[in-house]
Symmetry: C2
Subunit: 302 residues, 2 copies
């Protein structure tokens, strides 16, 4: 099967996920054309997913396709942006039609859940890699940046943490893996609606998605906002059957960490406070102790 | 050097190419934010470039960086879109700081020429691959699609063809390569300003960039427009010191093939006519003979 036939197969597998009311020109031309909402700013991010780095090489292609889109769209959720369109550049070792079709089916599944069309792509022959470029819209000044946290605010997290790391440690592609962990790894929940609602109500002023692990991402947010994030370990919501150790080991849960002046927010958990930056330059504390990095660093401080 | 340090190095190498008056949030947050021109539609495309497929593995990284951006932005030129912003996902075999910095310098060079900021990216560890996602703006209904060619129009091409294939055959990374061919391969001219001017004056109604070779891309345009493109081989402008054989061998020159009702256009060459689709389903003829594919197919018909 040639390149153009395989592209046709993929577009067919995407089905209605390749189109939508705002899509003026979908796959098949030099570029795609999408109509933005009036007056919106464009929000954009790009991610690459590689086998045995970002997903197990022996995972089901449909699961991989779902996860590829979901983790990329998480960057739009963290900014409180409305998903607009997605592009995918797929590199395959050979014209593996079955893999490509199943991968596309998983992407189509995620595209429906997130309400975003996959409007274009590229196919190349080479070592497997999935590059996903996501684009969304936000009203001027309405995006949640990493730099917007202020001392005195509370620190919140959506959902529960540690499940992704627990899945990795238990063997993601293992047939005996707990179904909850498997689902958690491949199909992280869409936090976009919640974050857009919080941004609309000005309930959140800074956010980041947890892609490097709670402590590492908390440090990114703290440095950008020039604050200290003081985390209370007992308050961290744990995804059953994971444990707190999984959270600190660097679980890429794709939940959202955010700062708010509120004290309680439905569907979210307060896990600490935003404090004034200290002279030692420590961006994150856990139970009052410095915790700048992931599990190893944190462990060495205890 | 860790991932975040290397990202800092790359952003430093990009310098002013990572920013611009429309960039509200550049590299360093979950996503980037760009302000579109009022009322514009979004035009988007994605490409992957792999060593020894899309560029010689032993080429200078700065040359590779320039070409990666230029060939991707060619998809915006073909639609007559104004470049808006670029994202790059880079996968490197290891933290090759020198390679990454030089690649970024070449991308920055191209970004200045095309007047487009590189607002975000992703860095992963794996087999070398460069994924470029380009985004631009076009007034509603103003984009040039592949489907807009009409019988009776003339067929034009920008610049001159065959140079890229001639460079490939002579050895692109060869020190003795003709300097004109080397430049032609790594730094294709920006046809965006010309195509936007032609679209503004309604001088062009359909266009495609030549990325698969003149005959293959002519076939794409012909099928989308449901017409025959009748090419006159003697009229094809040849890039010195290439030959017509290089053009028919499938030279990815990143010039633009377009249809127009005009008979002469400055800076472009009329190479044939748009004719009514025939019952045989032949999309392209050269000197009156069917020529559906690239060099091999065409050769077998002569």
């Amino acid at each position: 099967m040639g390149e153009f036939d395989l592209i046709d197969e993929i577009v067919r597998a995407l089905g209605s996920a390749a189109t939508g009311p705002q899509v003026l020109c979908g796959p098949g031309d030099d570029s795609s054309i999408v109509r933005p909402p009036p007056g919106a700013d464009a929000v954009a991010s790009i991610d690459s997913l590689l086998p045995d780095v970002h997903f197990p090489a022996n995972a089901q292609p449909q699961d991989v396709g779902y996860r590829a889109l979901a983790v990329s769209l998480s960057d739009l959720s963290a900014m409180a942006a409305l998903p607009g369109y997605v592009l995918v550049a797929l590199t395959l070792p050979d014209s593996d039609t079955v893999f490509a079709r199943q991968l596309a089916a998983g992407m189509a599944e995620a595209a429906q859940v997130y309400g975003v069309p996959i409007v274009g792509g590229n196919l190349a022959s080479g070592p497997l890699s999935i590059c996903v470029s996501v684009h969304g819209w936000v009203a001027p000044e309405a995006a949640l940046l990493r730099s917007g946290a202020k001392p005195g605010q509370n620190l919140f997290v959506t959902g529960a943490l540690g499940g992704t790391r627990a899945a990795v440690e238990a063997g993601i592609a293992d047939a005996g893996l707990d179904a909850r962990l498997r689902e958690r790894y491949f199909r992280p929940p869409d936090r976009g609606p919640l974050m857009r609602q919080l941004a609309d109500r000005a309930s959140a002023t800074a956010a980041i998605d947890i892609s490097d692990g709670l402590l590492a991402d908390a440090a990114h947010l703290a440095r950008r906002s020039d604050v200290v994030l003081a985390i209370d370990s007992q308050a961290i919501p744990i995804f059953e059957p994971a444990s707190l150790a999984h959270v600190f080991a660097g679980s890429d849960d794709y939940e959202i960490l955010f700062a708010s002046t509120q004290t309680a927010i439905e569907g979210c958990t307060a896990i600490g406070r935003v404090e004034v930056a200290n002279s030692a330059g420590v961006p994150v504390t856990v139970d009052g102790e410095p915790a700048a990095g992931g599990y190893d660093h944190f462990g060495s401080n205890r």
